[in-house]
């Protein structure tokens, strides 16, 4: 009896699981599309909402969005391509296109983008150019994002600073950051008796990982030095200008004492009002808008040297190669829909690459974008090199993370940092 009872239970369980899998009689199953993106921050929520909207408007297509951190997402992309089951639509950055197109896994999209009615003049020029590698277009632009400075207006005013005069130059920026840095006795970094070991509020929060390198990259460009040679075969920056860039950043931490040493979570420090300024990207905007009691605005990345420049990148939508052309066509339908709704994607904080969305009244009315919109004018992107994963990986021991941490955490002499960075990058670029 016990055996029969168990058998009956197993049959019931199997039926319970199997029955929902049987489609109702007469219903045409929608085409299932797989869409992957690395938006694990608040911006990911916006893309999920957009995908839900697309699914409602297209009952013949059902899109499943998976968001994962970019690095494991790219591992997943390569293993899924190997298994013959790539995602139908894949988001990435402009600096990733060369690597993945050289592996032969991306479908050229020039004709499909044109057939969907898009052309170069519809987009920000730098965003459009970022979709090309070796003269072939492999993506459609979605957005642009760059560094700017978030300002806690309450702490700004409490320090006696004018909210209508946000810093533009590096000198003004450091002066403001010092004014916003306060030790336990209320002293600022230039005051006699200032105790750098007892700071209760710092002026600035900034990342010391790959974003630390991105700030160096921008400061190098502000001095007119290119990072790599035009053929991407070697580095092209001068020691003097590279050292000056690292030194300015390093001094913020170890000389001016306006940045916490070894800061692990600048965004969290800004939200909890431990720091008054934050250098970060626009993807934090949706999260900041949900924080109660935080009065903030944005201003441009500081112009420290001769010309303004701020690191930036852009998200793109690509279609991995696959045998099923119907799925590729459906993926292009999805990509085109998302780009046509670029204004809604602007709610994620990222700036739409589509000009009509970017210049729309609705987008311009969104709060907090001013600093990013102004920085966009002098945004510079990383060179699109083939070994981008080795050069630009966000994990140690990639050369950019090692260099940023050497300068901003370990306080190594900047000449040493520059030399090590040059050697490591040239070794990667010269490898067969």
């Amino acid at each position: 009896m016990t055996h029969r009872w168990c058998l009956g239970l197993c049959v019931l369980l199997a039926a319970f699981v199997a029955v929902p899998m049987v489609p109702p009689a007469g219903a045409a199953a929608p085409l299932d599309l797989v869409f992957w993106g690395g938006w694990t921050g608040p911006d990911g929520d916006v893309m999920h909402q957009m995908v839900d909207q697309f699914n409602k408007e297209h009952p013949d297509i059902r899109v499943t969005l998976t968001t994962l951190q970019w690095t494991p997402l790219f591992d997943k992309l390569l293993t899924s391509v190997r298994a013959g089951q790539p995602p139908d639509l894949m988001a990435m950055h402009s600096q990733d296109i060369a690597q993945f197109s050289s592996l032969g896994i991306l479908e050229p999209m020039g004709e499909t983008v044109a057939a969907a009615g898009f052309k170069a003049s519809d987009f920000m020029d730098v965003a459009w150019r970022g979709t090309f590698s070796g003269g072939t277009q492999y993506a459609i632009p979605l957005d642009m994002h760059m560094h700017a400075v978030y300002v806690n207006l309450d702490l700004w005013k409490a320090a006696g600073l004018d909210p209508n005069k946000l810093p533009v130059t590096g000198t003004d920026f450091v002066a403001a950051a010092k004014r916003l840095t306060v030790d336990g006795a209320g002293r600022h970094p230039d005051d006699p008796g200032f105790d750098a070991r007892a700071i209760r509020q710092y002026g600035l929060g900034m990342m010391n990982n790959h974003h630390g390198f991105y700030m160096f990259y921008a400061l190098l460009a502000q001095q007119g030095d290119p990072f790599l040679a035009p053929d991407f075969s070697r580095t092209a920056f001068s020691d003097a200008k590279a050292n000056a860039a690292w030194q300015w950043l390093q001094d913020l931490v170890f000389k001016d004492h306006v940045v916490p040493v070894g800061e692990t979570n600048p965004y969290q420090d800004f939200v909890t009002k431990h720091v008054a300024l934050l250098i970060d990207g626009p993807w934090e905007i949706p999260g900041l808008q949900k924080v109660g009691g935080l009065n903030w605005t944005t201003t441009t990345f500081p112009r420290v040297f001769a010309a303004p420049a701020a690191w930036g990148s852009g998200h793109l939508l690509t279609i991995p190669k696959q045998a099923n052309k119907a799925r590729e066509q459906a993926a292009m339908t999805l990509a085109a829909w998302i780009v046509h709704h670029d204004q809604e994607w602007g709610l994620s904080g990222n700036l739409p690459a589509l000009l009509s969305a970017r210049t729309s009244a609705a987008f311009r009315a969104l709060p907090g974008r001013r600093g990013f919109l102004e920085s966009q004018a002098f945004e510079i992107m990383l060179p699109d090199v083939r070994p981008s994963a080795q050069l630009y990986s966000s994990a140690a021991p990639s050369p950019i993370v090692v260099a940023a941490q050497a300068a901003l955490v370990r306080d190594q002499p900047v000449a040493q940092v520059t030399q090590q960075l040059r050697n490591q990058i040239n070794a990667i670029l010269s490898a067969p």
């Binding site: 391509v81 190997r82 070894g262 420090d269 431990h274 994963a389 090692v402 370990r410």
Partner: protein, 301 residues
């Protein structure tokens, strides 16, 4: 061949070597083991002789990956860091685990609750432990430096200095996993026949003498297992390093598995990553051999 008489249920007892039933029971596990353990081990070894980026066919390169490792300064950094982590963590995990087991093997009030509290961190996921301790150890706003400041100590740059980063990860690891060693030692202690200690006591041995001449020698098989497992696990440290420091600051906490992960899955050089894996395996085998020579598992009285 002698055929044994049937039992009352009409079945013949197991004869040893002639019935396939035990192998049928083992078969599901064996299939899984071959597919997901043994197969990848062999596949990884073969991959270490290739250049392969997951996509496309692997290209045979002979010993080039191993030769490149011999010239790779980051590889030596990762070996050094791994051994440093082992030296910091293993003695603490083994010694503290043993002491905790000794103490909590005694009939103390609240020992049940103490055992649970000490073992409880082990049930937490490594990522949760890493995030929790990253907050605790934050140099500027973390809990530990806050309380150190109350007693006029610190602040200590736990995760942001070369000197303190690896000890900080070791501290986290000991807090997280010492409970596991404690439980294994407890089981070993409870297996010691009480007559051994009683006869030593009758012979006039004091507590320390009983510990040194009775408990520790009889516990040798358990100690062997704990030492072996601790060395293997600490040598393969990855999770807490990945979450807490990512191998930084710079390369101060870059360990072998962290470097393997970077090469294989972040720069898509599977052949090179496989070579690192097999060097790691060879180092672990060497240490296991050394342990067997220095600390045989057989008990001796």
């Amino acid at each position: 061949m002698q055929v044994l008489p049937a039992t009352a249920h009409g079945r013949r007892p197991y004869h040893g070597g002639t019935r396939p039933t035990p192998y049928l029971f083992l078969l599901p596990y064996l299939v899984v083991f071959v597919l997901f353990r043994f197969g990848p081990v062999v596949g990884g070894f073969l991959t270490s002789f290739t250049s392969w980026s997951i996509v496309g066919a692997p290209r045979f390169v002979g010993l080039a990956n191993y030769a490149a490792l011999a010239r790779d300064p980051l590889f030596y950094t990762s070996v050094r860091n791994t051994f440093y982590f082992l030296v910091l963590t293993a003695p603490a995990l083994i010694g503290l685990g043993f002491v905790l087991a000794l103490v909590l093997n005694r009939p103390l009030a609240g020992r049940g609750a103490a055992r649970v509290l000490i073992f409880a961190p082990y049930a937490m996921m490594s990522a949760v432990v890493g995030i929790l301790w990253t907050w605790i150890l934050d140099s500027n706003f973390g809990l530990l430096n806050y309380y150190l400041a109350k007693v006029h100590l610190g602040p200590i740059p736990w995760l942001s200095s070369d000197a303190a980063a690896m000890p900080a990860i070791a501290l986290t690891t000991v807090w997280w996993t010492v409970g596991y060693n404690m439980v294994i030692f407890l089981a070993g202690l409870q297996d010691i026949p009480p007559q051994l200690e009683e006869s030593a006591r009758v012979d006039g041995a004091g507590p320390w003498q009983i510990l040194w001449f009775v408990t520790i020698p009889v516990l040798r098989p358990t100690t062997f297992v704990v030492v072996m497992l601790t060395i293997i696990n600490t040598f393969q440290v990855f999770d807490q390093v990945y979450v807490m420091t990512g191998g930084g600051p710079g390369t101060a906490t870059l360990t072998l598995v962290q470097y393997l992960f970077f090469q294989a899955f972040q720069t898509f050089k599977l052949g090179y990553g496989s070579a690192i894996a097999y060097i790691t395996f060879a180092l672990l085998l060497a240490m296991a051999w050394l342990q067997q020579r220095l600390l045989p598992s057989e008990a001796s009285l």
